[in-house]
C-alpha cells in the first residue's frame, strides 16, 4: 500500500513535539516529507535541534497503514486537511510571513473571490462594544463580506454571531487549539453554526488542547485570510493588538472603532488610531477600505421606530444610550417617576428596542 503526498504531510504535521521550527529545519535538510519518512536515525540526528526524543517520535510513527487509518478517521469526523502547495490552500496565506504549513478545518475554507474582514477585540467587552461588534458583523454579512475571527468571548463571538444572523453569509473562526475542540465552551452554539456557515480553522492537529502560547500565533492566520482588520474595543495589552500588528506587517488595512479617551477599555484602540490606523464609525468606512461598491443607504432603524412610539416611550428611548444605565438614572433623566419609567422600559423591551444588560440596567438595542 502506497501513501499519497498528503498522507506524508499529515504524518509530519501530527508528530508530537515537532512544531513549526523543527519541521522547517527537517524540510530544509531533507527537501521533502517523503525523504524525512525514509531517513535513517543517523541522518535525522544531524539536523539541528532534533533530539533523541524527536527522532523516537518520528521513527515510531512510520506505520503506513496506521497513518492512512488515522487520516481516514479524521476525514470521517468531518475534519479536512490542506497544506502549503495544495490546490485548495487559501491563496492569501501564501503572502504572509511564516505561513502555516498545513490547515485543519471543519466546514469550508474562505472563498478567495470574496472579500473578508477580521473583526477582533476585547474578551471582557462592554455592552456597547458587543453591540457594535454584532452590528458590524451583521452589516458586513449584509454586504456579502466574510468575517474572520477567533471565536473568543466578547467581540469575536459577538461579531461572528452578528454575521451568522444573515443567512447565506460565511464566517470563519481560527482556533488556537484543535478544530475538534470548542474553546471557550460557552460558544458551542456559535461553534456548531459556523461549521455549517463557514469554517473552523486551525493549524494545530485535532486534539490539541487550548494552550496559551498557541493563541498569539493563530492571530497571524486571522489577519492573513482577511483583507483588512477591524479592531473594536482593544485595551492596553489586548491580544487584538497582536492581530493588528500582524495585519500591518502583512500589509493589510487596520480599521479601528474609536472610543472615549478616558476609557481604559479603548486605550489600545485609540493608540492604533494614533499610530495611523483608519478610524471607522460605520459600515461605509469599512466598505470604502475594502474598495467594494456598496449600497450607500444605511438603514436608520432609530428614526423608523420613533414614528410608532408613544410620547413617553420616545422620551425614555431618547435618554437611553449604548452604555447600560440603571432605571433610576433613566427616570431622573427623562423626568418620569420610576414606576412609569419601568412600565415604559418593559414595553420597549417587549418591542425589542431596548435590552436589559444586568438587573434593571437598560441600554439601546441595535
Amino acid at each position: 500500500m502506497e501513501l499519497e503526498h498528503i498522507h506524508y504531510v499529515y504524518w509530519l504535521s501530527c508528530i508530537n513535539g515537532i512544531g513549526s521550527v523543527k519541521r522547517g529545519r527537517l524540510l530544509e535538510y531533507f527537501g521533502s516529507e517523503e525523504e524525512i519518512f525514509g531517513a535513517s536515525k543517523e541522518l535525522l540526528s544531524k539536523v539541528r535541534s532534533i533530539g533523541t526524543k524527536d527522532i523516537a517520535g518520528i521513527v515510531s510513527g512510520r506505520d503506513k497503514a496506521a497513518i492512512q487509518e488515522s487520516y481516514g478517521k479524521m476525514l470521517s469526523k468531518g475534519i479536512q486537511f490542506t497544506y502549503k502547495g495544495h490546490d485548495i490552500y487559501p491563496e492569501k496565506l501564501y503572502n504572509i510571513y511564516n505561513a502555516p504549513y498545513c490547515l485543519f478545518y471543519k466546514g469550508s475554507l474562505p472563498d478567495n473571490s470574496k472579500k473578508s474582514v477580521a473583526v477582533v477585540g476585547a474578551r471582557n467587552v462592554s455592552y456597547s462594544g458587543s453591540v457594535i461588534a454584532s452590528q458590524m458583523g451583521r452589516q458586513l454579512a449584509e454586504n456579502g463580506v466574510q468575517v474572520a475571527s477567533g471565536l473568543a468571548r466578547g467581540v469575536d463571538a459577538s461579531a461572528q454571531k452578528g454575521s451568522l444572523s444573515i443567512a447565506g453569509n460565511r464566517t470563519f473562526a481560527v482556533m488556537g487549539c484543535g478544530v475538534d475542540i470548542c474553546y471557550p465552551r460557552q460558544n458551542i452554539e456559535t461553534y456548531m453554526l459556523i461549521q455549517e456557515n463557514g469554517g473552523i480553522i486551525s493549524e494545530y492537529p485535532p486534539g490539541m488542547p487550548p494552550v496559551a502560547g498557541n493563541f498569539p500565533m493563530r492571530n497571524r492566520i486571522i489577519s492573513g485570510i482577511s483583507d483588512c482588520i477591524l479592531v473594536i474595543e482593544a485595551g492596553e495589552k489586548s491580544g487584538s493588538l497582536i492581530t493588528a500588528a500582524y495585519g500591518a506587517e502583512q500589509g493589510k488595512d487596520i480599521l479601528v472603532v474609536p472610543g472615549d479617551i478616558g476609557n481604559k477599555l479603548y486605550y489600545g484602540s485609540n493608540q492604533l488610531i494614533k499610530d495611523g490606523a483608519a478610524l471607522v464609525t460605520n459600515i461605509n468606512d469599512i466598505m470604502d477600505a475594502l474598495g467594494v461598491f456598496y449600497d450607500c443607504s444605511i438603514k436608520d432603524r432609530k428614526e423608523k421606530i420613533n414614528v410608532n412610539l408613544a410620547l413617553k416611550e420616545k422620551i425614555v428611548y431618547a435618554n437611553l444610550g449604548l452604555n447600560p444605565a440603571h432605571v433610576s438614572e433613566i427616570a431622573a433623566k427623562s423626568g418620569l417617576d420610576i414606576k412609569k419609567t419601568m412600565e415604559v422600559l418593559i414595553g420597549l423591551e417587549l418591542k425589542h428596542l431596548v435590552c436589559m444588560a444586568g438587573n434593571n440596567y437598560y441600554a439601546l438595542k441595535i
Partner: protein, 525 residues
C-alpha cells in the same frame, strides 16, 4: 426534717417550675446535691454552704440531701442557689414553710450571702405567673426585667438574710416592687431613637421605595450595589419603619434576649425592633441557634426585627442553608441530646451584596471581572435561599452633585426622602389591610402567600393580566419568578389601597424581581 422551695429552669425560651427538696437527717455529716445537674449547679453546694455560714446561719453536722425535681430535666445555670439555701433553712425550721408554696426563688448566691443577677429571669417569672405563683423573689438587678411579666408580685432581694426576713413576714406583698409610670413597651410610648432615620439617605429612591414595599409585605429583601452606595445604611434603617412591637411580641423577643443574657439594667426589655448583623464568618450554630446546651442564634435574636446579612456571597454556603426552614416557618427547632427547644425566628431577612467580585458590574469602565467571574460570584448564593427573597433592588453610584444638592437648602428642588416616621405610618396602614384580608388564614402578610393563596388573593386587573402575560413570555420568567412578581404586586397594590393589582403595580414589581443568571454576565446583544 423535710422541706421544699420552688425555683425555675429554662427550656428554650420557656421556663419550667422545679422543686428544690431538702432533707436534713441523722447520719454521717455531708451535703449532697442530686437531680440531673450540670457542673455549675453541682458547684452550688459550695456556694450555698459558705453563703449560709457567712450570713450567720449555723449548719448542723447532719446529712443534708437536696434534690432538684423533676430529676429528669437537665439543669444548668446558677439560678437555683437561693432556692436550695431557703429549702435547707426551712428544713432546719428557720424559715416558715407557709409562704414557700406561693413563691418562686431565683438567684445566684455569693460567698457573702449577696444575691447576684442571672440570665433568663423573664421567662421564669412568666412561667411562675402561668402556674399561679404569687411571689417571685429575684435578684435586685433583675427586677426591671421581671416586672414585664404580669400577674405576680416581684420582690427584689439583695441578700439571703433579706430573703429570709421576707419569707418569714406576714405581709410579703409589702416588699413587692410597684411599677411607676407604666412599663416601657406596655404603654406603647417608646421612641426608636437609636435607629437612624430614612430621611438622612440621599438619593437611592428606588432602593428606599423597595425597602418600604418589602417591609409592608414583610418580604425578604436583597440589595445589590457597588461598594459605598448605602446598602448598609438602608438595612440599618429598616427596623425603624416597621410598626412598633405589640406587647406579646415584646414579651417573646425579650424572653430570647433574657435567655441569652443580653438584657441589661438600662434595657430591661426589648421594645425596639431588633437589628442583628452577624459577620459573614458566623457559624451555623451561632446563626440558627445550637450548642450542646441550646442557645438562641442570631435569627432568633432578630425575631420581630431585621436579620441583616452583609456581603451575602461571603457567607459559608452551609451556614446560609440553615436559614431556609426557619425563614419559612418562623420557628427554629434545635434538637440536642438533652431535649429540643423551639426558638422564634420571625425575622425579616435583609441581605446585601456586590454585583461582582470587584463590585462595579455592569459598569465595564470600572469592572475588571470576566463574565465567568461575575457568574461564579453570583453562583455562590444558593438558589433555594434566593427563592425566599421576594424583593431585590440595586443601589447606584451617586454623582457628587447629587450628594450635595440636598444639603443646600436653596437648591433643594429635588424631592427629599420620607422620614422613617412617615414611612412607618404608610407601612402600618398597608399591614392593617393585609391583616384584615387574611383574618381567616394563619398568616397575616403577603410574603406568606403560597401558590394556591396567590390564585385566591392576587386578582389582576384585565389590563395588568395581559401585560404580565406579555412580559413573562417576553422575558421567559419561571413560574416562581411569576409568583414573586404577583406577591410583590399585591403589596404594591395594598400600599395604594387598591383591591385589584394594576398594570403599574406589575411594572414596579418586575423591577424588584430577583437576580437571574440570564441577565448577569450574559447581558449582551
Amino acid at each position: 426534717m423535710y422541706s421544699e422551695a420552688y425555683s425555675a429552669v429554662i427550656q428554650g425560651i420557656e421556663g419550667c417550675i422545679i422543686h428544690a427538696e431538702a432533707d436534713v437527717s441523722d447520719g454521717l455529716p455531708c451535703f449532697l446535691l442530686v437531680g440531673c445537674l450540670s457542673s455549675e449547679v453541682k458547684e452550688a453546694r459550695e456556694r450555698v454552704r459558705i453563703a449560709l455560714k457567712n450570713s450567720g446561719f449555723k449548719i448542723p453536722p447532719k446529712k443534708i440531701t437536696i434534690n432538684l425535681s423533676p430529676a429528669g430535666i437537665r439543669k444548668d445555670g446558677t439560678c437555683y442557689d437561693l432556692a436550695v439555701a431557703v429549702a435547707i433553712l426551712s428544713a432546719l425550721g428557720i424559715i416558715n414553710r407557709e409562704l414557700l408554696h406561693k413563691a418562686v426563688l431565683i438567684g445566684e448566691l455569693g460567698f457573702d450571702g449577696k444575691l447576684k443577677s442571672v440570665n433568663g429571669v423573664l421567662p421564669m417569672v412568666s412561667t411562675a405567673c402561668e402556674n399561679g405563683i404569687r411571689y417571685c423573689l429575684v435578684p435586685k438587678d433583675n427586677v426591671e426585667e421581671a416586672m414585664f411579666a404580669d400577674g405576680t408580685d416581684i420582690i427584689g432581694v439583695d441578700s439571703l438574710n433579706e430573703a429570709v426576713s421576707i419569707l418569714n413576714s406576714t405581709h410579703p406583698e409589702r416588699y413587692a416592687v410597684r411599677a411607676e409610670g407604666g412599663m416601657p413597651g406596655k404603654t406603647g410610648n417608646t421612641q426608636s431613637t437609636l435607629i437612624p432615620d430614612f430621611a438622612s439617605i440621599t438619593g437611592q429612591d428606588v432602593a428606599c421605595r423597595a425597602a418600604e414595599v418589602a417591609v409592608s409585605g414583610m418580604h425578604n429583601f436583597l440589595i445589590i450595589g457597588p461598594p459605598g452606595t448605602g446598602k448598609t445604611m438602608i438595612a440599618k434603617r429598616i427596623a425603624g419603619i416597621m410598626p412598633k412591637m405589640q406587647p406579646d411580641e415584646c414579651m417573646e423577643v425579650s424572653k430570647v434576649y433574657s435567655v441569652s443574657g443580653l438584657l441589661t439594667k438600662d434595657m430591661p426589655v426589648i421594645t425596639d425592633r431588633p437589628y442583628r448583623a452577624p459577620h459573614h464568618t458566623v457559624t451555623q450554630a451561632a446563626l440558627a441557634g445550637g450548642g450542646r446546651y441550646p442557645k438562641p442564634g442570631e435569627i432568633s435574636l432578630a425575631s420581630g426585627g431585621v436579620l441583616f446579612l452583609d456581603e451575602l456571597p461571603e457567607f459559608n454556603r452551609q451556614t446560609l442553608e440553615v436559614l431556609r426552614q426557619p425563614l419559612e416557618d418562623g420557628w427554629v427547632n434545635v434538637s440536642r441530646l438533652d431535649g429540643s427547644c423551639r426558638y422564634p425566628a420571625k425575622c425579616m431577612l435583609v441581605a446585601a451584596m456586590n454585583p461582582c467580585r470587584c463590585g462595579f458590574y455592569p459598569d465595564r469602565k470600572k469592572c475588571t471581572c470576566t463574565p465567568l467571574q461575575v457568574k461564579s460570584y453570583l453562583g455562590r448564593i444558593s438558589t433555594p435561599l434566593l427563592d425566599r427573597i421576594d424583593i431585590c433592588t440595586e443601589t447606584v453610584q451617586l454623582k457628587l452633585n447629587e450628594i450635595y444638592l440636598d444639603n443646600d437648602i436653596k437648591d433643594c428642588h429635588k424631592k427629599r426622602n420620607s422620614t422613617s416616621e412617615e414611612i412607618r405610618k404608610r407601612v402600618l396602614q398597608t399591614q392593617e389591610i393585609q391583616k384584615d384580608r387574611y383574618k381567616n388564614e394563619n398568616f397575616s402578610f403577603n410574603s406568606c402567600l403560597t401558590p394556591s393563596d396567590i390564585k385566591k388573593y392576587c386578582t389582576l386587573a384585565p389590563e395588568a393580566k395581559d401585560f404580565l402575560e406579555c412580559i413573562s413570555e417576553g422575558m421567559s420568567f419561571s413560574i416562581r419568578a411569576y409568583h414573586k412578581i404577583l406577591k410583590a404586586g399585591r403589596t404594591i397594590a395594598d400600599i395604594e389601597q387598591k383591591s385589584l393589582i394594576e398594570k403599574s403595580h406589575i411594572a414596579e414589581a418586575v423591577c424588584y424581581r430577583s437576580i437571574n443568571s440570564k441577565y448577569w454576565g450574559e447581558g449582551q446583544a
